[in-house]
Amino acid sequence: MRYSALSILLNGLRGNRNWTPAWRQPDPKPHYDVIIVGGGGHGLATAYYLAKEFGVTNVAVLEKNYVGSGNVGRNTTIIRSNYLLPGNNPFYELSMQLWEGLEQDFNFNAMVSQRGVLNLYHSDAQRDAYTRRGNAMRLHGVDAELLDRAAVRRMLPFLDFDNARFPIQGGLLQRRGGTVRHDAVAWGYARGADSRGVDIIQNCEVTGIRREDGRVTGVETSRGFIGCGKLALAAAGNSSKVAELAGLRLPIESHVLQAFVSEGLKPFIDGVVTFGAGHFYVSQSDKGGLVFGGDLDGYNSYAQRGNLATVEHVAEAGKAMIPALSRVRVLRSWGGIMDMSMDGSPIIDRTPIDNLYLNAGWCYGGFKATPASGFCFAHLLARGAPQKTAAAFRLDRFERGYLLDEKGQGAQPNLH
């Protein structure tokens, strides 16, 4: 069923009784050309692009819970392509370009909203770092502007310009950055993949990876054995656990990152703003809630919940940036499990095991990468070679010393 204003009108007049399921609930077939483990944003996008762009339709997405139950449904919905390193920047820009045409492409309004992402700076050193970053973006044709204090003040007059411990000097603005309604991304990809023949199988947990003669032949699941040609892991947050089923150890740790939403307020923050003197970033949703977050809790965790101390740190930074938040109330906090790689950048690669492919290590940048991650992973699975913007996301880069360390923190995942 195609979605449009007309379909809403006609269905509305008929009492909305004729809407059909957005995707099927098929039983698993005995064998697929490609099985994707993980029905989150990246797994569903991979399936979608496999079917749509590469003509591979005998595909199953196995999800242990419900569609979009992982990080695609528990992030702060930000999209941006303001990356520094040549190995990262073109990939995230590809993602941004895919976001820009996504809704028309999959006929689902995910509310891709390019209201801008502004990174504040508070010192000369930060300004110089943003100058370097903004210029790297410009070199790749990505939009970037360096704003001075007066320009930031015109945009966001309610930031603390006058009593701040670390006065705001300016900011790096990417106008094409913004937010997307996160759940809708999962749903849109699921619906799009399903309509092209992909089987999305929920409540189906992978419990084993079967190997014969050193190559993967299928997976044991809570719904029985399913054979496959290629097995594609897209289970960020649980990558280590899934890879372990194939005997692989990864350069990844699972960490909890909290996110928050305030009570609904009449919109006053248009785009995304990040604080430069503490861990805080915020945007305001189309429902009016301030959606915000801060830093990792700092310890390995598989529990989707965080610590009060981190909540306090985030709130402190928030009020330092916007003093008027003081009497605004925080409604809800939640935690997502991040696949923190050892250099802060992702992995899209084949593995040393035949037929086993890995998409992992997204740290806390996974949501914005969803379209490009799906597209590039599909490219790798269908063509056997990496898509050029994802060529640096090699699994062996750690061992060989070709790291993609945007923050320069080294092999310390909780600092990325």
Partner: protein
């Protein structure tokens, strides 16, 4: 006006009237009122508008779950949007404004959305607004955003104070209702350290509107007496107006105390809110139960209220809900309300009971309609009649208030904050807290226990069990005697109601109604999480307190399964919303982070320094002189003066670590990549510290003051990190080494004295001979000053490239020594200089800082390749440094950059392109890490990291900053611009 106030009923103070305004209209309430009870007493039924359809809304509850009666109170920096009128205590002068309406609450154009509702069902926006694509940001979204949100936040800073506290106890009791009071009393009498908290303003919970007698006293009196006893116990902390909002690891609870939210003008010496972190051995959740709404048409209209809320307004606040009421009930609690209403003289027109028979013997005057439901109401801004559906007949009964009693759901929010999932009990027909919670028990209404006596008994028993668990003995407690309690009930849930025509709401605030759930299930969003996300049920400010269980019941019905199979969404902190102010405490404004000041801060201030934030430090940036018009002018003067005469710079904020022990040299040899084992006593050496992954971590000088004693300096930014790292190495990696570490950053005031005249100036205060022969470059030793009056450490090291020393003296003497040096150098032209000048001097000399040590460079990249010891068996980073990629061709390498035309300049962060190359990422050769105007060179100079830079000296390039529209022809060169032979260091 107060014609809804009943005489002689309730706990409000009749002789203390309180004036307030609602939407600018003056009204009067009584001391003890909430804003909600005062509004009701004034006959104000319509108090808010819903989110989506702008439906007129009244007051639904008498507590924390209120989804409808949200108002904005206060003004200016004290503006508080989305305040629940049911929780806000009335105070003199309170100003309340209704929200989400235009132009007015009574006439709200947004209500037109209701007419369009067939097209605005769950998730409609996912299916439209897609064409043409640019119109989303330009047209559709702005319209949606205009309609978004409820209250309006202030732009102004909050004038009030907040604070945070820790508390520790044996037993934390959450909720001071009958269960909690009994538990706290039991534990208190046993001598345990008890904290009892409750979100309300008066202790007692349901006892405040209960009509039963306990130990021969009225319930409210029993609550008062018990509270008095508890307050008299030194081992009990009794906190009212305090909400436990989250349960965290280690049995720590977050709670927020509203210290001054019920007063007109907060006292500045007290916070308005206080955040508590309560660490407890055991906790008892006695949070009671929430009454479940009934999902019939128009169940959101002003005048429809929860039955228990109606009872609270009646018995606690002495407010009649209307002139003629009706009660729609699925259980016996409706009859208790009927009896109370009639006793207060309020007419009950009908009791509509969904069951064939009641469990109580009702003898009141109300008409009893059994096996019937209310399926709809008449009236928009206030109800005027209800539609009662029985069999296949519908009849209308005129009323102006309707109570709904749909049974009770235990409030188990907190019990599920640490991963536990609620469990559906078929017996209790409710979701219960998960079992075997570590350190937390649930009792009373929160455990679906009904009846006063049972709750009191459970409170006592659970307190006894908890204390036994922590090794405390409890004396026996008598169970209070309860008379006249008819609150015990059992109930079968009534999920769906026949005959419904108008919208029947599940989530009131978010306007999720019955049909939305049906649509979600039909479209495949039947998983409880998907249904929540698709319809937004449970996502409003009340977090689904009233809506979740109904939504689950209705999803279960639509899917043909039991609520157990549907399960719940996840309960997350916070139980009720918590302000940024409370979470922030005192860390606001200028106090966001602590300030670190050098021991020479006041000295620098005295000499007119301009300060700059550097991490937590304030550093002197430059020292303007009168007549200088720009910082550039001051810095240029300072630079030239250092090169010509001498300058004095505060470097106290460098990290300083003292290492001692017989293995200290071996230890240093392992933490630095260059050799330290054979550093002679009395010598300083530049050291490069790597991370274990082979990249440079930090640099600094380390001096050997004695055979087994070293003095290390680190960069300012990494001082704490290096100390942690060294402690890791000493304690974890090589505990067998005899080395002790002490951070002495704050013990020393350290200053650089640099310039050709540095020695003659210093010699005036240093007793020891510091001639070049006696104290050559890189000498380091403890020295005597001022004829033995003071001792310090002197290092002949130079960041500026001049003859230079750093002298460290005990912090308290810093200012005197600095002044003495200025005095000693007066005739030699000494001047203070700041970090800006320091930066120019070091760039001229090609010295690196963390601008260059950016976490992704190895020693060879910075020209330090030869420093890396090839002979040492082991040092941190040695193994990983061998990786192919860390030695590959094309790595960024440190170079100097100068503009070809000295009149041109460029800035840090610009990128380097080969001459004539197009500005693309593929052609990116590197970037400018540091730049400054060099008075010595007479142009801008810079350091840069450029691919293969060391072999490209002399190459013409383009320095490009697209951000600024700048493109400057420049030349790569050796990174040392000044005195490349280091002659000036050795004079």
């Amino acid at each position: 006006m107060s014609s809804y106030r009943l005489p002689n009923l309730g706990l409000v103070s009749r002789d203390t009237p309180v004036s307030f305004t609602f939407d600018g209209k003056p009204m009067q309430g009584l001391q003890g009122d909430t804003l909600a009870s005062a509004l009701l007493a004034n006959g104000r039924m319509l108090v808010g508008r819903s989110f989506k359809y702008h439906r007129p809304r009244g007051i639904l509850t008498a507590g924390a779950a209120e989804p409808n009666a949200l108002v904005t109170i206060g003004h200016g920096g004290r503006t508080e949007p989305n305040t629940r009128a049911t929780m806000q205590e009335l105070y003199e002068g309170l100003e309340a404004q209704s929200q989400n309406r235009w132009p007015s609450l009574d006439f709200d154009l947004g209500a037109l959305n209701g007419i369009l509702s067939p097209f605005l069902g769950a998730g409609f926006y996912y299916k439209t607004f897609m064409w043409p694509a640019p119109l989303w940001e330009k047209l559709y979204e702005p319209i949606i955003r205009k309609a978004a949100g409820l209250g309006k936040a202030s732009y102004e800073a909050d004038p009030d104070a907040y604070e945070k506290s820790w508390a520790h106890c044996d037993l934390l009791v959450i909720g001071a209702g009958p269960t909690g009071l009994a538990a706290a009393l039991t534990a208190g009498r046993a001598g345990a350290r008890v904290i009892l908290l409750d979100e309300g303003s008066l202790p007692g919970g349901s006892l405040l509107f209960e009509t039963a007698m306990i130990d021969g006293k009225a319930a409210a009196q029993f609550a008062r007496d018990t509270s008095d006893e508890l307050r008299s116990m030194p081992n009990v902390r009794f906190m009212m107006r305090t909400t436990a909002f989250g349960w965290y690891d280690g049995n720590v609870f977050g709670a927020v105390e509203r210290v001054q939210k019920h007063v007109r003008e907060p006292v500045p010496s007290l916070p308005v809110e206080r955040l508590w972190r309560i660490a407890t051995k055991k906790a008892l959740l006695a949070s009671g139960a929430e009454e479940r709404p009934l999902v019939f048409g128009g169940n959101d209209r002003p005048g429809v209220m929860m039955a228990s809320a109606m009872r609270a307004y009646l018995n606690r606040y002495g407010v009649a809900p209307g002139r003629a009421t009706a009660i729609f009930t699925t259980n016996d609690s409706g009859y208790t309300l009927a009896r109370d209403l009639e006793a207060a003289g309020v007419d009950v027109a009908a009791i509509v009971d969904s069951r064939p028979a009641a469990g109580v013997d009702y003898r009141g005057k109300a008409r009893l309609i059994r096996e019937a439901v209310v399926c709809g109401v008449t009236g928009r801004k206030a109800i005027s009649a209800i539609e009662v559906h029985r069999g296949d007949r519908t009849e209308s009964i005129a009323v102006d208030a309707l109570a709904m009693a749909g049974g009770f759901d235990p409030i188990i929010h907190l019990a599920c904050h640490r991963g536990g999932r609620p469990v559906w009990s078929a017996e209790k027909t409710a979701f219960l807290a998960p079992g075997s919670l570590n350190g937390l028990e649930v009792a009373g209404g929160a455990a679906a226990t009904s009846g006063l006596a049972a709750c009191l008994g459970e409170g006592i028993a659970q307190a006894q069990a908890a204390l036994e668990g922590v090794g405390l003995r409890c004396p026996p407690m008598d169970l209070p005697k309860v008379e006249g309690d008819d609150a015990a009930y059992s109930s079968n849930p009534l999920w769906s109601i026949p005959g419904v025509k108008d919208k029947a709401f599940i989530d009131f605030q978010n306007d999720v109604h019955l049909k939305d759930i049906g649509l979600a299930v039909r479209e495949g969003y039947g998983h409880v999480e998907l249904a929540k996300r698709y319809t937004t049920t449970g996502m409003a400010t009340d977090q689904g307190k009233l809506s979740n269980v109904n939504a689950i019941g209705l999803i279960a019905k639509a899917r043909g399964v039991s609520p157990a199979e549907v399960g719940t969404t996840t309960f997350r902190p916070f139980y009720t919303p918590v302000s940024f102010g409370a979470l922030t405490g005192a860390h606001a404004g200028h106090h966001f982070q602590p300030v670190r000041k050098s021991p020479l801060h006041d000295w620098a201030k005295k000499h007119g320094a301009v300060f700059v934030e550097t991490g937590l430090w304030y550093r002197s940036a430059w020292f303007p002189k009168s007549g200088e018009r720009s910082w550039r002018e001051s810095v240029e003067r300072e630079v030239l003066n250092v090169r010509k005469n001498a300058g004095l710079c505060d470097v106290s904020m460098l990290g300083k670590i003292e290492l001692s022990g017989s293995d200290a040299a071996e230890f240093l040899n392992r933490v630095y990549c260059n050799a330290f084992l054979k550093l002679p006593v009395g010598k300083a050496r530049y050291g490069l510290m790597l991370r274990e992954d082979g990249f440079i971590y930090d640099d600094g000088t380390t001096s050997r003051l004695a055979e087994n004693r070293f003095f290390m300096t680190t960069t300012t930014a990494y001082a704490a990190g290096v100390m942690n790292h060294l402690e890791f190495c000493a304690q974890v990696l090589w505990p067998e080494l005899d080395v002790r570490l002490a951070s002495v950053t704050d013990q020393w005031a350290q200053m650089a004295v640099a310039g050709p005249k540095a020695r003659m100036i210093l010699q005036k205060i240093v007793d020891d001979d510091i001639s070049d022969a006696a104290f050559p470059f890189l000498a380091a030793k403890e020295v005597s000053l001022f004829g033995g009056a003071l001792h310090g450490c002197l290092f002949r090291i130079s960041f500026s490239g001049e003859l230079a020393y750093e002298i460290a003296v005990p912090a308290g003497y810093g200012e005197s020594v600095a002044d003495a040096l200025l005095d000693a150098g007066k005739d030699h032209g000494i001047m203070p200089y700041g970090v800006e000048t320091l930066s120019v001097l070091r760039i001229e000399k090609g010295h690196v800082t963390h601008n260059e040590i950016n976490g992704t460079v190895v020693p060879a990249d910075l020209g330090f390749g030869k420093m890396v010891s090839a002979t040492k068996l082991d040092f941190i980073g040695k193994a990983m440094l061998q990786r192919e990629g860390l030695a590959a061709s094309g790595r960024p390498q440190l170079v100097g950059v100068v503009p070809i035309d000295p009149k041109h300049s460029f800035r840090s962060g610009s990128h380097i392109l080969a001459k004539g190359a197009e500005a693309t990422l593929e052609n990116d050769e590197g970037y400018v890490t540091s730049s400054a105007y060099s008075p010595h060179v007479g142009s801008t100079i810079a350091l840069a990291l450029v691919h293969n830079g060391q072999s490209r000296h002399g190459e013409e390039v383009l320095v490009w900053s697209g951000l600024h529209g700048e493109s400057t022809p420049a030349r790569l060169c050796h990174p040392v611009f000044f005195d490349p032979q280091n002659e000036r260091l050795h004079v």
